[in-house]
């Protein structure tokens, strides 16, 4: 049994075009199925508006799926705000890009790390102090930083403090939404190493959402590439980043600037990703796809296993049963 599984999950928002426009349904996430195994990391990559953050919010139970189901440790996600949901939230924590925004500027680091312990009624005052000290050690923060306020810390130290707070309730799953994107390269490497060390030590699972393919490759056991609300390719990160099969994954991987010679010839896409409120027919990628055929505009390709077992949603990929 997977620790977390999303089955056919969609999240639909109603929005208006202009102040007096008719309401339009926007499918931010469209029939997404994925599973996170205990102690493993599933990476989700994609560009702005592809639905990766919404997927993370649905996984945490902050948002209810409009369709489909979310199972955590085999049980359905309780409704947000209920006592059952609160209890479960101790097992599921979120870390996102902006650590300063995630912290209360008026409270010391120690107070904020202790807060989840108080909320979930874990231990007494003395016990909590010990736990805070241990958490600070785990994330590599000096003990004297405990009494500082967030603005007195560097960006890397703040992200460590946010992580310590997320770990306070000993969660089984961390949803990390762009956790290192605001950090400089040298600090980013420190935080990535710490995340993988913590995973090893505590057997924590992660849903790791990022636009940075290099970082996702570094931390993930499985990876899903999203485009306009749907997963277009999913499987082993080595296979996908070395030899992407979906034309969008191919363009995305080839777009990453690397020092030294590149392995995959660059595919420069024309145009911008379409507005999710104005989703192209058939395969949503077809207007920008360099290899699209007539069928691509007509039918939406399902996510099906390719020859090597990874999942690909493309009419043109070999090894997929019943290509159009």
């Amino acid at each position: 049994m997977s620790l977390l599984s999303l089955d056919g999950v969609s999240r639909v928002y109603a929005t208006r075009r202009g102040m007096f426009g008719r309401p339009v349904a926007v499918r931010a996430v469209d029939h997404v199925s994925l599973a996170v195994e205990a102690g493993q990391t599933l990476g989700i990559v994609g560009e702005s508006g592809c639905g990766k953050s919404t997927t993370g919010r649905v996984a945490l139970g902050i948002e209810r799926p409009s369709e489909g189901s979310v199972l955590f440790e085999g049980a359905a996600m309780p409704a947000p705000g209920t006592p059952e949901w609160r209890r479960m939230r101790a097992r599921l924590q979120l870390v996102y890009q902006d650590p300063l925004g995630a912290m209360d500027r008026r409270l010391t680091v120690a107070t904020q790390i202790a807060e989840p312990l108080a909320i979930h009624g874990i231990g007494d005052a003395a016990d909590r102090r010990d736990r805070v000290a241990a958490l600070l050690r785990d994330v590599g923060l000096r003990a004297d930083l405990a009494e500082r306020h967030p603005h007195e810390l560097s960006g890397g130290q703040r992200q460590r403090a946010v992580l310590a707070r997320a770990l306070a309730t000993d969660p089984a799953l961390l949803v990390c939404d762009e956790p290192v994107s605001a950090l400089d390269v040298s600090i980013q490497a420190q935080v990535i190493n710490m995340l993988t060390d913590l995973q090893e030590a505590r057997g924590i699972a992660m849903l790791f959402i990022s636009h940075d393919l290099k970082v996702v490759r570094q931390v993930s056991h499985q990876v899903a590439v999203m485009y306009l609300g749907r997963i277009v390719e999913q499987g082993d990160p080595e296979a996908i980043f070395a030899d992407p099969l979906h034309p969008y994954s191919r363009a995305l991987v080839s777009a990453i600037p690397v020092p030294g010679p590149r392995r995959i010839a660059r595919v420069v896409l024309t145009g911008d990703p379409p507005n999710p409120a104005d989703r192209p027919s058939g395969c949503a990628f077809h207007p920008r796809c360099p290899v699209a055929v007539a069928a691509c505009a007509l039918t939406t390709p399902a996510l099906r296993p390719a020859a090597d077992g990874r999942l690909v949603a493309c009419h043109l990929v070999d090894g997929v049963a019943g290509t159009a």
Partner: protein, 327 residues
Amino acid sequence: MPAEPLVSIRDLRVAFHGLPALRGIDLDVMPNEAVGLVGESGCGKSVTWLAALGLLPPSAKVTGSVRLAGQEILGAAPSVLDRLRGGRVAMIFQDPASALNPVKRVGVQVAEALRLHRGMTGGTAEAEVLRLFDQVGIPDAKRRVHIYPHEMSGGQNQRVMIAMALAGQPELLVADEPTTALDATIQAQILDLLRRLQQETGMALVLISHDLGVVAEMCRRVCVMYAGRIIEYAPSDTLFADPRHPYTRGLLAALPDMVGPRRRLEAIPGGVPEPWNLPPGCAFAPRCGHATAACDAAMPGFVPVGVDHAAACVNLEAAIVAAMVAA
């Protein structure tokens, strides 16, 4: 005979409220050359060009020399700088949406640059705006010139900024993190465009970026900055194949790979020193695995280590002296 540099910066220093931000920059940019400046937040890569073009607030103390085609521009009169900026030297920034005027149509904004720097008005300016939009790859230019920045995507806004930069027919384009706010596939489009424009127009390009990959792809020559100084410069290929300064090596080792076996990242311990707490000698010494007492004694000078390749590291100097003594 080597050509004259287009821009020649010598011993450029900047201090904010007595705290050093830039501690002696020497840099030449040749005509039609693409030079990259890389480094982490606060290393001074942006301040260098803001200072050179007189764009820092009066509270900043700027000293040194910046020559554009032989003419000193540091501390030049505002009227001289106004003609220069957007004319011979153009700049584009990370966030095009905030660099553009939100209540003016994009075509009008580009036309304004044409009037200011090339004295074009009316139909001539209109035709030139369309040509520029075409040149920067904005489709359906006839209609797009009439829309507002918020009606365009981030990538399209950056194209408008580039069109505006080209309006003054610059000899140098300074691009400060031009693709950092853009998605990967859009970044690839903009980098492609910049490369093509540089070839077409023959302008020089200074690319400021935190992304070593972007700089490696775009620039022939790269300078790595740390704590207000350039600590290594080299041709791009050399720098990435054979980095010599421990900081450059550290940066490359800290970067996850896209291919090959996955390895644990080699993080650089600690953080960048605060401007009020700079080490006495080499600013990188407290984080450096090879630091010795000599590193704290004085600021290291550049040690030539190859063709057009030098690094500011005491240990390299010692190694070279030892080799010479042995020989």
